[in-house]
């Protein structure tokens, strides 16, 4: 009886999740009348706008990840090493992007950094790109910080730091050649979540008027029938790929080096 109910719950859930995935896949194959074909994919992939916006978003993701790592790893390390009492506050701040809707944050950007402000970032394309990257960095902050902080928990930060210092290492050496390699798995999992977020992000890019992949998908959806379904399949594959890579990295990576204690 209990097992039957359990199977029923699972089957219901599976049906709900599989139908849309089947729906979009089937629809994406129906562009040619009467037979299944990959025409919609060919059309999407050949679209120069697709290539432009997709590479734009990938490049933005790479910069966001680099910036995020440079910001989060030293901060999380420093908080663990020297300011354990500040930890709850820092953690609280990193969770704020889950509370404040992205649309509100970007609304603030538009008003605060417009051409007549003290920091006119939206005045130039480069400035707007940088602003968008900062926006993406705030969106990924909760995931990046948590990942790195969890990674730092598995190593003995204090002992490693003291050992490095007594061998004459400076802060840059400690962070770049000691801490970062030790939390690389955590950093990578944060990076893949960031990649998944940035590639599909719509609100910030659309309101800052940047040619990103999210607004492109929305525009195509408003004007075409079959190509959006193909895009949805591609986007799902990317999300799946990012999450799969997280698991793969976690499984394949060597265990973090434990400090020698004798």
């Amino acid at each position: 009886m209990k097992r039957l109910a359990a199977w029923a719950a699972l089957a219901f859930g599976a049906l709900y999740f599989l139908l849309p995935l089947m729906g979009m896949t089937e629809f994406s194959l129906k562009m040619r009348r009467g037979v299944y074909s990959l025409d919609a994919y060919a059309r999407v992939l050949a679209d120069p706008k697709f290539q432009e916006t997709f590479s734009y978003s990938v490049i933005m993701a790479v910069f966001t990840i680099l910036f995020g790592v440079l910001l989060v790893v030293p901060t999380a390390y420093w908080v663990r090493l020297k300011l354990p009492r500040a930890r709850p506050y820092v953690e609280f701040v990193t969770l704020l992007p889950l509370v404040i809707p992205a649309i509100v944050v970007v609304f603030g950007y538009i008003r605060l950094y417009n051409t007549s402000s003290w920091l006119p970032l939206t005045g130039t394309a480069t400035g707007t790109n940088i602003l968008l990257m900062f926006g993406y960095a705030t969106l990924s902050l909760p995931y990046m910080y948590r990942a790195v902080d969890t990674g730092l928990r598995t190593i003995d930060v204090t002992t490693l730091t003291e050992a490095a210092q007594s061998l004459g290492a400076g802060w840059a050496t400690i962070l770049g050649r000691l801490i970062l390699p030790n939390v690389l798995v955590a950093v990578l999992s944060g990076a893949f979540v960031t990649l998944a977020i940035v590639i599909g992000e719509f609100t910030m890019a659309a309101l800052l008027n940047r040619p990103a992949f999210g607004p492109y998908m929305q525009l195509l959806g408003a004007n075409r029938a079959y190509e959006p379904a193909a895009l949805a399949v591609i986007a799902f594959a990317i999300t799946w790929g990012c999450m799969g890579l997280i698991q793969l990295v976690a499984r394949l990576a060597p265990k973090p080096a434990t400090p020698v204690k004798d």
Partner: protein, 299 residues
């Protein structure tokens, strides 16, 4: 506020006075500056703007100005959709997680289901809308199947993907997996001893659930529900890709206002955004308080 000076604690050896100077907080400056400039200041600007007139003096008029029929109904529909998708997401997610952890299903289901939940909870926004249009839209897979094979016309039954229920069903695609991911650890934390103790004292299955398990899980469930509520209340991309601007909900209204000042008053836009922060803020405050309570049982 994160950078309050705090001297290094727990240093057993005596340190020279020079090292005691509280300069450690300097390491937090880059992070604090970034957060202040690109998260807190923009939000504060909106909040303050909601209480200012165009010439800068203090006023409640903007917030009072929200009280028009169309904005009221936008908030109401948004809250209804968020409530519906959060409670259904909780219910279905709970059932699936309970089936997986306690239902006696084969162990091999667990790994794939949790991985899939991780993927599906991140599969939101524009592509998700496309997937549901291709499934439940006018010529979607399910719509056509029901019509040609079973003679059920969803449209005649009053179902439309561009509606309250359409949006709710779509949001469930990321709500249910999120519930599964959050509630599974809580279900794993239910100790076998509690069940055995209840049974020895003569409790039936339903009695155990009603009087032991459910009260323990209640804060976790309610807290997750608050998180799911905030999650769908702030969702912009899915709604816009699914309905264009045909559904009058707060995120779409605010999006249109930022794009082209549809309300005719920029400060009303601030008030609209401020309202969103208030609603998601309340929901998240509930989540944080209840999560702290629920974690007591997981030790």
């Amino acid at each position: 506020m994160t950078s309050q000076p705090s001297p290094d604690i727990k240093t057993p050896r005596p340190v020279p006075l020079k090292e005691k100077l509280p300069l450690h907080w300097l390491g937090l400056v880059p992070f604090a500056v970034f957060v202040a400039l690109f998260l807190l200041a923009p939000t504060m600007y909106i909040v303050v703007g909601a209480f200012r007139t165009i010439d800068g003096s203090f006023t409640f008029d903007n917030v009072i100005g929200l009280n028009t029929a169309s904005i009221r109904s936008a908030y109401w529909i948004s809250i209804k959709i968020s409530l519906a998708s959060a409670s259904l997401g909780c219910l279905v997610g709970f059932c699936m997680a309970a089936a997986m952890t306690l239902g006696g299903l084969p162990k091999v289901i667990r790994g794939p289901l949790l991985t899939f939940s991780g993927v599906a909870s991140n599969f939101a926004g524009v592509p998700l809308a496309f997937a549901f249009l291709a499934t439940l839209g006018p010529i979607g897979l399910v719509t056509v199947f029901l019509k040609t094979n079973l003679g059920i016309d969803l449209r005649l039954l009053g179902f439309n993907i561009l509606s309250f229920w359409g949006l709710t069903i779509t949001y469930l695609f990321f709500q249910i997996p999120l519930m599964i991911l959050i509630i599974t650890p809580a279900l794993d934390g239910l100790k076998r001893e509690w069940r055995e103790a209840a049974e020895i004292l003569g409790a039936s299955g339903p009695q155990y659930w009603r009087m032991v398990a459910f009260p323990i899980l209640f804060p976790a469930i309610l807290g997750t529900m608050a998180l799911l509520f905030a999650n769908s209340f702030g969702a912009v991309a899915t709604a816009i890709a699914l309905t264009g601007s045909s559904l009058n909900i707060v995120p779409i209204l605010l999006f249109a206002q930022i794009r082209g000042d549809v309300l005719g008053d920029p400060h009303l836009g601030y008030a609209l955004a401020f309202g969103m922060i208030v609603v998601t803020g309340i929901a998240n405050a509930i989540y944080i308080v209840l999560r702290a309570r629920s974690e007591r049982w997981q030790k």
